[in-house]
Structure formats: structure tokens, C-alpha cells
Subunit: 559 residues, 2 copies
């Protein structure tokens, strides 16, 4: 099962820099001698434990350290967890490295790069069946199906052995654009010999076969047909096949289509220009043109399927949208599933809509959404087609990677040949034999305003503390001559007790007592101890009276 | 369908004070002439929009204002969303009002009240079939089934008409304790005439019939049988029927049972003392007695099914538990479903367990949990049995209440007789005829440390702002004589840029420039304007350099 053209003195290093600790920031470096290619450069959205963080990137120090080897960046598809780190990475690489991807993916990336003022990126359009040589890498792309058109997997041939990286995929036999997964190519790779398979684990705990995207269309059509008023459909704006089905259903019901939401407007424009979304110009209306159109002749295609408070759907539901507002009698279809962590936000939007008197469809009521990721039977089929000697589950949380590893064993890959590793760990392949390699610098990099990278974990802990308990500032004037504390000034935010004259008097008294008792050294060398004593005395005073411990910011000034 | 013993000059007011804006803080006042009874007194747990809040209570001002009428408090069952406001309410009522509930519910309440040092509450134990007269209310209790034993519904007869309040229920034909829902009583009420039905809406969007609790037992037994090492089962500690089935399964597998987690220890003790949980003393071990017991002879029953970071399960998974730690080869069963908002926390625990090499069972893998609430077919059966003239869906979010209202219409209740109302709205019944009444004071009351009630919405907004952007304090000494600002002192928390000498120098310069330009009035009456100018100058300086807007706390002191 090993490859033909291997040389025993060459090692291929496979280094996942992201994507193995959750769904997000996918990035894998493949390094062989003096050549390196990168597969994907994605971001992750911050969660509740990362308050105030804008974006999370993989730490790609290793890529920058080996910049001289980097021959190209392959992007498997246009989702942000595969593309979102690209603007940052390209800036660090001075935009020198070519990017290989499908036409639609490059179209989406182009828009994003222009927001970062990155001009003339070195785009290299490829498609399923394309071959590219990058240093000692011979790369063949293959078509897959996913919740975005133009999704590709890669077959990497190197002197040390071969790798199939699936990208994100499902095996949809009836994709909307007719571009089926390339089973022939996968079978061919299997025959040629796949040393290592890296495969999408997102749905590895889900039994069965993921339903085809084509099954969503009839449900949406049915809902639109039954609607008496306007229909609002919220969906991911990159899910062009979904949008196509919404447009087709609207057309069948003689309804015009209004598009709203920034990314929905951008992505539908790009997809139409590139020929991925087919909708008649005459069937589209601008949001400000709808006056006079009967309510049962409209479908509004919008962002907001994740309950984002600033999205078009939330704003229309709350009466905060410029041109449209949702009202009683409207039908709303949430054509998506909440990303983990967004459940409550989505439910809040659904409740607002229910209160308005809308008829709301979500996944629990009708088949208005299907997953874009392969379930267990598809994952097994991928293993059966490629027949890998070694297997590394990728793209998932710990529980997904392990469930996928178990499937690998079921499919005959020996347990010792299955690698469930962490970001920054590496595999080394030599003569088609794969072993664990050394780890490289890895981790997460936070984007927080203009700052990229050095957000201290303490900052995040402080933010969580501030959120749960608020803060009180105390300014103490140290009278160094008389060796006592003068007037104290208090100021608080996010605390539920009032900081009024009574508080100031009582807290001052408590602090003065503590300072008198402590016999402090009133000199410049003693101010740290005094500052600490002020903080502790105030914290205890507040605890005794309110049973809360806000963050105390003591400022001591010498006079 | 109206009642027999009605007098046309009497009005029954039905006033839900909580429970209609989500799952939580259930409380309804029934007021008839000079008599009032309260059904349930629950709390709600805070969500992401209420950072730092400990608990949320319904605003029960109306109850206190009518304290002289209050004849009794009925608690339908022992879940905190039905009992948790009771300690606060009883304190406000000086513990004078009798509490009617089942033995187990009173047992759970007693423990909670003793934590609040509320002694000798006026407990009145009732059960299905009990009759109680409270002023002009003639009340009959009926047994239901729910995810806790001893759940009751109530049939309230008044001179103005009759009401059935279901409490939380499902229609479990094979409950673990053999106490089936009292269909006979419900049919009898239906025959006597139910003017108003108030029914649990939690699962009103779920088609079909909720599975019986008895179906969970075999799945848990199967998982324990197949386990090679220890088995940890996390569940709600009040779910005594679930715990019974876990204990029975452990017994069948010749495994001893260890109980851990504070509420799990308390509730199993109470339930055993009161005869609700039947487990042989010899089969129970203390956590510190397990040395020497083979791993395949142990089942640990623990809290933590919601991913709570301080729960037994999380601590055992993280190696922070006093006596137990989970390791490779252990089996963990999450015998619960995440409460909305807890999905991500639960998933994080599942991932930690997967990383340890545990075999994790959750609802998606096996039938290790079923809901305690009625699905659509059961809700329809409740409507069919009670045949109400009027219907008010209760206990649910907006989307649930509306879905339940739609079921009511399907079952023949005219749309105009169905009331989907808000907390604090009221219904008025006279001669069995129900109309909308006037609204009363209502809303939410926050418990934040020792403070109850007056947490300002601004406090919560400030906490969210602090969490997302952090804060910077600036202390400015105003030299009133020279009419200028002296040294500035900066201090920050939760900001990702360093507050170092460079920052202090540059920010000071920016502030000084703004003050010089502003030509401020350096007198006591001018300090507010100077404070604002300092804040704005610092905020702009930080925005220009970092593109973030932390909260600025300016303190100006005159010297």
C-alpha cells in the first residue's frame, strides 16, 4: 500500500497547526525537505471564555520560521474556519505566496483580502482533477461536496509517501450543482496507495448517512407555498446551494427575492458573477423597492441564522432594520442549525418572532437544513475507498476525533496506525512509514482590536472577573509627612451596591482603621504595602456588607 | 362546561407572576374576593446577559401587597424553578403562610429553608386525591408524572369557576414508582367542568409522546454491563427515579455505588429517608472507602450533568476532586440533556473525558435520558380529558406557549378562548367566563450577593462592557492655582495593550493637549467638564492606537 516513487532518505512532516481542538482555525503544514505547502488558513470565533476577543487565529510561527520553504497555500473551500487567517498570514508573508483554490473560494477570499487592502494576491485557480507541482510535492485536487460549492480535497504525493486530505466533505449523491464527489479519483488514489488519510471528523459521532442538500429544497418550497404573508429565510450567506434552492422555490411561488445582510449581499453578488448562483435579475428586488409588492409575493433572503444580534434577521425582528421589519403573519424559516454556543441566541430570536406572531420554521419542525459534513457511513466509505495505511482524524473536537479513530479501527486500520494528536504535534513519514515526530510551537493567537497575538491569559481572566463582580477604584492620597492617609475617593462600575456618601464614609473608616493598625512605613519604599492594605481592607469591607468581591483597583498617590 | 356552585358577583383573578417568559421562576397567584393562593414560587438561573447575577426571582410585590389575603402556597413539585423563590418569599412573609405539597417536595424544601435559617415552616403534606379548603378555594390535588417523584397538579374550585393547573407533567404509563397520572381525576374534573386549563408547554413543539422513564433503565444497564472499568453516571440530583434505575443497574452488575457532589449527597439522603429511593445500605460506599474495590465493581453517581465547572464530574475529570479522579478506561454516562445555554459547557466536559480516554455515553449515543415534559400527543390528551372552556398555556418560552395554543385550537378550544399572556398580565373569571384583566406589577428581581432586587440594568450593561473591553482608570491631580493638570496615574485591567511608561507618557501628553486646548474653568464648578475631557481624550488616544474602547474611569482630585 506504500507509494512507488519514494526515496528512503526523505521525510515528510505533517504538522497540524490548528483544527484538532475544535471546529475552527484549520491549518496544516506539509514539509518535505526544502519544500512546504500549507493546507487551509482558518480562524475560529471566540467563545464565552474569551470575552472581548474579536477572532482567534492559529499560531503560525512555524510557517513564518520556514517561510523560505513555503511553495504555496492550498485552501480547500471558502468557509472562514479555512480562510479567515489568510489576510493575517499573507500580511506576515508580504503577500508573496501563491494561493491555490477553486474559483468561488478565490472569489470569496478576494473580497476579504481587499478589506485588508491586500492587493493582487497570487491566485492560482484549480478544480477537481487539477495537478500542481510545488517543489517535491505533486498535488492532485479532487471534488467533494460540502455546504459551499467549489470544495476540494487534495492528494499529496511526495518522495516520502502519499497523503489524502479530504477537506470538509459529505458524500452527496445529488448535489445541487451536479458536481458529485469524485469517487473515481478516490478509488484511484486507494489503488495507487494512500499512506496517510486525514479526514473530516465533525460528524463522526452521528450514525448513518447525512441527507442530501437536495432534500431541503422541497421543504422550503412547501413552507413558502403555505405562507400567507412574506417569507424570510435566514441562512449562511456562503451556502450558495441553499440560496439557489431558496431562489428556485421563490420563483416557483411567483415571489420576488429581496437580499439583505452585508455578507448575504456580498456573497450572492460574487456567486452570481462567477456563475455559481443562477437567479434572474428580474426576480431580484432591492429592499427599498418593495413598496407596493403584495406580501405574498416576497421572499427575503437574509443573514442571522445564528441569532447574531446585529444581523439582518435580528434587526428586522426588533424593528431596527433600515428598510424591512418582520410583523404578524410573516413566515420565518431558519435554514441552519445553531453552531455550538449559539443555541440560546437563536432561541431568543425564535421567541421574539413567535411573540410577533410569525410562523417560524426551524430544523425541529421541517427539513429546512441538513449538515454539510459526512456521517459515520460516509466516513467509513471514505476509508474504504482510500484504504490508508495510516489514519489521522482531523477537523473536530476531542470527542469527534476519537469517534472517528474508532471508525478507522472498524475499517481495518490497526490501532497503532491511527494518530489522534494535538495541534503542534507532528507526524513524520519516511518510506510510507508514519511515526510521531517532534512538536513545534503552536497555540492560539488572539485578535483584539489592532493587537494580534499577545493577549495575556490574565487579561481574559480579569475580564471574566470584571463581568461577574464589577470593579471599585479607590484613590488614596498618602500624606507622607504626617504618615497618614488623607481623603479617599471611590468609584465603581458593575457593582450592585450604591457608591454613595454613606459607602464612602464607611469604607474610608474601614480603610483608615486598617492602616492605623498596620503601622505602615510611610515612605516611597512602603507604598506597595500600603496599596495592598488599602485593597484588602476595601475588599473585606465590601464582602462583609454585600457578600461580593468586585475587583479592587487601588491607586495611591504621595502628597 | 361551567361549574355548579358559582355566584355571579365573584371574580377569580389568575395572575401569573413568572413562568411565561421562559423555563423558570414559576409563580401564579389566584385571587378570589378576600382569599388568595399561590401556586409555585420558583427561581430562574441567570443567563449570559446577566453576568454576575446569582439568581433571578419573580417580582412578587403583588403577593406582598395582598399578604393579608394569602391563605396558602401550593408547590407542585420539588424542582428549583418551582421552589427556589420560597426562602426569599417566606422571609418577606415572616414565615407565616402554610405550604402545601407532597412529602418529597417538602423534604427538599426543608433542607433549602434550613440553609436560610427559616425554622418550623408551616408544612402541610398532601398527595394525589387530597382535598384542602383555603378561604373560598376548594382545592383537589392530583398525581402526575414528571422527572421527580411526588409531582402534583391542582384542581381549584371557586365561586367564580374552576381551574386545572397541571404543574409540570408527562403522561408516563410506566413510572418507576408505579404512581401513574390520575386520568380518573382528570376525567372527573372534565365532567364537572373545567373553565380554565393551565398546562405545561415545555415540549409543545415536540411531536409525539415522550418516552417513559422506564425506557432509560435498560440503556443504563447495558452501558454498565459493557463497561470494563468504573462507571460514572452524572444526572440531576433530584431525579430520584433516574437514580433508582442507576442503583438498580449497579446492583444487577454487582457493583457498589459511590455518591458524590453536594446536592447528590443531600437529595439521595432525603429521598432514602422518606422512602422514595430504595437502595441497600450495604451497596453504598463513601468515596474514601473505595481503595481495594476493583474498578469493575464500582458505579459513581454524581452531579455535573450540565457541565458546571465546580460540579463533581468536572472536578473528577480535571483531577480537582478530593477523593476521586476519572482516568482512561472509565465509562461516563451523561444521563441528562443540556439545559439551553449549557450545551457548550457540557460539550467541553465530554471533550475532556474523551481526551482522558473515557468511553462517554450521552443522549446522542444511547437512550440514557428522556424528558420529563409532555410532548404534543400528551398535551392533546390533557386537553381531551379536561375539556376546558378556556385555555392558558404556561411554563415555556414564547415559542412553546404559542405552539401549545395552536394545539389547543386543534383540540377545539376557540381561538378567542385561548390566552397567551405575559407575566403580570391577568385573567378574570366570573360565572365561568374568562376575560383579560388588568396587569399588576411584575418583572424580575436579581439576587447578587446579599442584595436582592435593585440591581440596575446599567450595572449589567457595565459588566458586559467591562467583559468585552476591560477598563482603564486615570487619576488626574488638578492644580487649581496654576490652572493645569499635574501628574496622571493610569491603571488598567482586562485590556490587551500594556499600561507601561510609554503608554503613560503618550496618554498623558494626549490628555494635556486636550486640556490645554479646551481652556477649562479650573474651579470646583469646572471639574465635571475637566473629568469628561480627560475621559474623552484618553478614550480617543486608546482607540487611535488600539482600536478598542475600554471603559474609562476618570478620577480628578483638586490639590
Amino acid at each position: 500500500m506504500a507509494t512507488n516513487n519514494k526515496k528512503s532518505n526523505v521525510t515528510l512532516k505533517v504538522i497540524p497547526l490548528g483544527g484538532l481542538d475544535g471546529i475552527g482555525k484549520n491549518m496544516t503544514a506539509f514539509e518535505c525537505g526544502d519544500d512546504m505547502v500549507l493546507v487551509d488558513a482558518g480562524l475560529m470565533f471566540p467563545d464565552d471564555n474569551q470575552p472581548g476577543i474579536d477572532l482567534v487565529l492559529p499560531d503560525y510561527t512555524y510557517v513564518l520560521e520556514n517561510e523560505h520553504k513555503l511553495r504555496g497555500i492550498i485552501i480547500t473551500h471558502g468557509h472562514e474556519d479555512h480562510t479567515g487567517a489568510l489576510p493575517y498570514l499573507l500580511q506576515d508573508l508580504n503577500n508573496k505566496v501563491p494561493i491555490f483554490s477553486s474559483k468561488l473560494t478565490l472569489g470569496f477570499i478576494e473580497g476579504k483580502l481587499s478589506e485588508f487592502r491586500i492587493r493582487a494576491p497570487k491566485f492560482r485557480e484549480v478544480k477537481g482533477g487539477s495537478h500542481v507541482n510545488l517543489g517535491c510535492f505533486s498535488i492532485e485536487f479532487f471534488s467533494t461536496t460540502h455546504s459551499i460549492p467549489g470544495a476540494l480535497g487534495v492528494f499529496l504525493k511526495t518522495p516520502a509517501g502519499t497523503v489524502v486530505h479530504t477537506g470538509d466533505f459529505k458524500l452527496d449523491q445529488t448535489p445541487i450543482d451536479g458536481v458529485t464527489p469524485d469517487y473515481g479519483a478516490l478509488a484511484k488514489f486507494g489503488k495507487q496507495g494512500v499512506d496517510l488519510l486525514m479526514s473530516d471528523s465533525t460528524n463522526a459521532t452521528v450514525p448513518g448517512f447525512t441527507k442530501s442538500e437536495a432534500e431541503v429544497g422541497p421543504s422550503i418550497l412547501h413552507a413558502i407555498k403555505n405562507a400567507k404573508g412574506r417569507v424570510f429565510v435566514a441562512s449562511f450567506s456562503s451556502h450558495i446551494h441553499r440560496l439557489q434552492q431558496i431562489c428556485d422555490a421563490a420563483k416557483k411561488c411567483n415571489r420576488k427575492i429581496v437580499v439583505t445582510g452585508r455578507s448575504m449581499l456580498t456573497n450572492t453578488r460574487v456567486a452570481r458573477e462567477l456563475g455559481y448562483l443562477k437567479v434572474d435579475e428580474n426576480d431580484l428586488l432591492d429592499a427599498f423597492e418593495i413598496n407596493g409588492i403584495p406580501e405574498d409575493k416576497l421572499v427575503v433572503m437574509c443573514t442571522g441564522s445564528q441569532g447574531e444580534p446585529l444581523s439582518a434577521l435580528s434587526r428586522m425582528a426588533n424593528g431596527e432594520h433600515k428598510t424591512l421589519s418582520i410583523h404578524e403573519g410573516d413566515t420565518v424559516i431558519i435554514s441552519a442549525t445553531p453552531v455550538p454556543g449559539n443555541e440560546k441566541a437563536v432561541q431568543q430570536v425564535v421567541n421574539s418572532l413567535a411573540k410577533l406572531g410569525c410562523d417560524v420554521y426551524d430544523k425541529s419542525r421541517a427539513l429546512v437544513h441538513v449538515s454539510g459534513h459526512a456521517s459515520q457511513e460516509e466516513l467509513k466509505l471514505m476509508l474504504a475507498l482510500t484504504k490508508p495505511s495510516y489514519f489521522m482524524p482531523v477537523h473536530g473536537e476531542a470527542v469527534h476525533l476519537r469517534a472517528h479513530a474508532a471508525l478507522g479501527q472498524k475499517m481495518g486500520v490497526p490501532a497503532k496506525n491511527i494518530f489522534v494528536i494535538d495541534n503542534g504535534d507532528s507526524l513524520e513519514m519516511r518510506d510510507g512509514i508514519v511515526k510521531r515526530g517532534r512538536s513545534v510551537e503552536s497555540g492560539v493567537v488572539y485578535v483584539d482590536g489592532l493587537r494580534i497575538g499577545d493577549t495575556d491569559p490574565i487579561v481574559l481572566r480579569d475580564r471574566q472577573k470584571l463581568a461577574s463582580d464589577g470593579m471599585v477604584t479607590v484613590v488614596a492620597m498618602l500624606d507622607m509627612k504626617r504618615k497618614k492617609i488623607g481623603d479617599l475617593e471611590f468609584s465603581g462600575r458593575g457593582v450592585s451596591f450604591p457608591i454613595d456618601d454613606q459607602f464612602s464614609a464607611d469604607a474610608s473608616a474601614a480603610i483608615q482603621r486598617a492602616i492605623e493598625k498596620g503601622k505602615f512605613n510611610f515612605s516611597s519604599s512602603g507604598t506597595d504595602a500600603i496599596r495592598k492594605a488599602v485593597r484588602d481592607a476595601l475588599s473585606n469591607y465590601i464582602w462583609n456588607n454585600n457578600r461580593t468581591r468586585p475587583m479592587i483597583i487601588p491607586v495611591v498617590m504621595e502628597v
